[in-house]
Symmetry: D3
Subunit: 144 residues, 6 copies
């Protein structure tokens, strides 16, 4: 097991965007839209949990490098059968922030799950994936 040495890589501006979808019942979507859950405003909580998870990523993913983060944002969009989650993370470091963006999507989705679960335990988190990555030696990656 090793955290590979990135000491000889250059510090460059790097961006990663990840997306995912939390599928849920129509009733749960209505509860989210009305923002009247017992525990509080689930959309704000989920966005915040996503941003905070960016900072915990090296604690969760064993071989991930601890790096400085220059910016992070989580956006949620309510669709017809669930909530679309997008996380954008930026750094100026020797390694990228794909893992941070993917972790943010998962944490935001699980926070929504936690706040809605008393009424809907059947929710599914699907299609968590990297949709954009740029700024490192391996070039730009794009995926729908």
């Amino acid at each position: 097991m090793k955290m590979v040495d990135v000491g000889s890589k250059e510090k460059t501006e790097r961006v990663a965007v990840a997306r995912g979808m939390l599928r849920m019942s129509t009733e749960s979507l209505v509860r989210l839209r009305e923002r009247k859950l017992e525990k509080g405003d689930a959309l704000e909580a989920a966005k915040l949990a996503g941003v905070m998870a960016v900072k915990r990523t090296p604690d969760l993913i064993p071989l991930c490098h601890p790096i400085g983060i220059s910016g992070a944002e989580v956006q949620l969009e309510l669709g017809t059968d669930g909530v679309e989650i997008a996380a954008t993370v930026r750094t100026v470091e020797r390694t990228g922030v794909e893992m941070e963006a993917l972790t943010a999507v998962c944490a935001a989705a699980l926070t929504l799950y936690d706040m809605l679960k008393s009424g809907d335990r059947g929710m599914h988190l699907t299609d968590v994936r990297l949709t954009h990555k740029s700024g490192g030696k391996s070039g730009t990656f794009e995926q729908a």
Copy 2:
């Protein structure tokens, strides 16, 4: 925002099982099976990361109660188009461990992603869901 009061609930044995699938290329599956990745044994690392994530769940999910955990296990099964992940978590507390099991699945999947990503950035994490829950007042929940 509040962490709802569970002080009057009874301490009972509770179990939660969550599952998910990390879809990947055939080449990545071969690399996993051969266990010769640069960073180390990805399957062992993913299982361990899943168990450790159970203990970090209250730090990640804002309104989740911090509770004692009596047992946790993560299992991985290599299929034809990805890795099936299952996490089982047990407690004897006033609240359940659904969030812990779901978090373990995500952390195990993201650890696999991290160790395989240099060769395959297109992997998808799908169908993360609760498949079993028992032991609390709301009764037993089962989902395929």
Copy 3:
């Protein structure tokens, strides 16, 4: 240095309430009320940060016991010269939750500070104190 032994104390329901005030300029209060800060909804973020800080208290306060928390809530009230913060924490343990309630007040206040500081660096956090404590052997404590 020692974390005093509480092993022979009884597990009882315990509650602690702490309060504090973040004094700020009229302009900052207006910005809070309008909820249009660059970083996001500061009131929701502060309440969430307060609840999450309850769970980090044993990491911050060196000799504080790590215990289960059964409920936590942070409330904010906008006054004429600042924001009044109140945190209520509940447990069923061998030791109280005063430190958790006080830590929640500080974390909520500092989160407001962080989100408003680009326009107002002169804010003061004052009168952080315990206002209620009940449930332990030392009896009930009340302070205005």
Copy 4:
């Protein structure tokens, strides 16, 4: 909710100093001076807790950037009606360390509270504020 992007800011030497006062009874001040508390040396513990809290700040303050810290110090001065706390934090980064200094003051004060509380639950933490900030684009800030 977003952690604002600081990637285009320059790395410069930045310093922040925060102060606060923990008001307490004369009897508590005597106990502090004599350094004979059951739990150990409260003044040393408080200073250490303050320095350690600098490193936990991005975990506590949701939208605070995780950055490298080049130095941190907490000083305590026993006055006639309480303990004056001062924290100085230094960095060479793209963003300042005001939140780190303020968090250190709160953690040091709460640690004193924790070690004295069995004899004095009425202590107040007051006047937590930024007293100096320099090194960033917004210039130098001073407050008494």
Copy 5:
């Protein structure tokens, strides 16, 4: 990998004591005794770091159960060729606290090392071992 299920074990009072020795030069022992190190009082810092490490043990040792701790204490004794460290940890849980006591010894020793290392990089940590364990089903263990 699994955290073994202890849900059916009984909650009993359990104690563990661990010991270790940090061997160092005579000059370092003199510096410790005089308590005039640049960074501060190393003996107080080491004791505190040991107690705090008890609370971080489940984060460090992957398959260790997260449990409540009812008491913890670290003691240091300056000998002729080093510092003897002893850590005592108590709980009322379904599993023991050997790992917590051993982790406390290591953290206390490494904190001393950190505060003395500018003058003595050759220090050795030796004989870290469990010296007492009682309260569980496996009975009492004693080792010199």
Copy 6:
């Protein structure tokens, strides 16, 4: 207590290597070699725990600077009376990584202890020491 200011030091490539030995019974060595422990593969778990502990070092060692890590690796070698542990850590920062390497050795050893302890509570961790350090102003240090 202070975290000394390193802001004026230069960022250079720095490496530290630490070593230690976990002495154990022949029976425990056989159990390790056969990799059939109840909890899972102890050697992989120990290496991973060591690498992860590198990232937790500033949380455990109070006055240690939080810095970026560019690489980390833990190696285990089974000898005739125990397991030899070696940890190598690399950074490009203003301060060295001795504490990170020493912490990795301790965490790896304690993880082995945890996974073997049901059959052997008498294990000893010995000779934890820095064996190499280079890249800072104080020059290169070597110790057998």
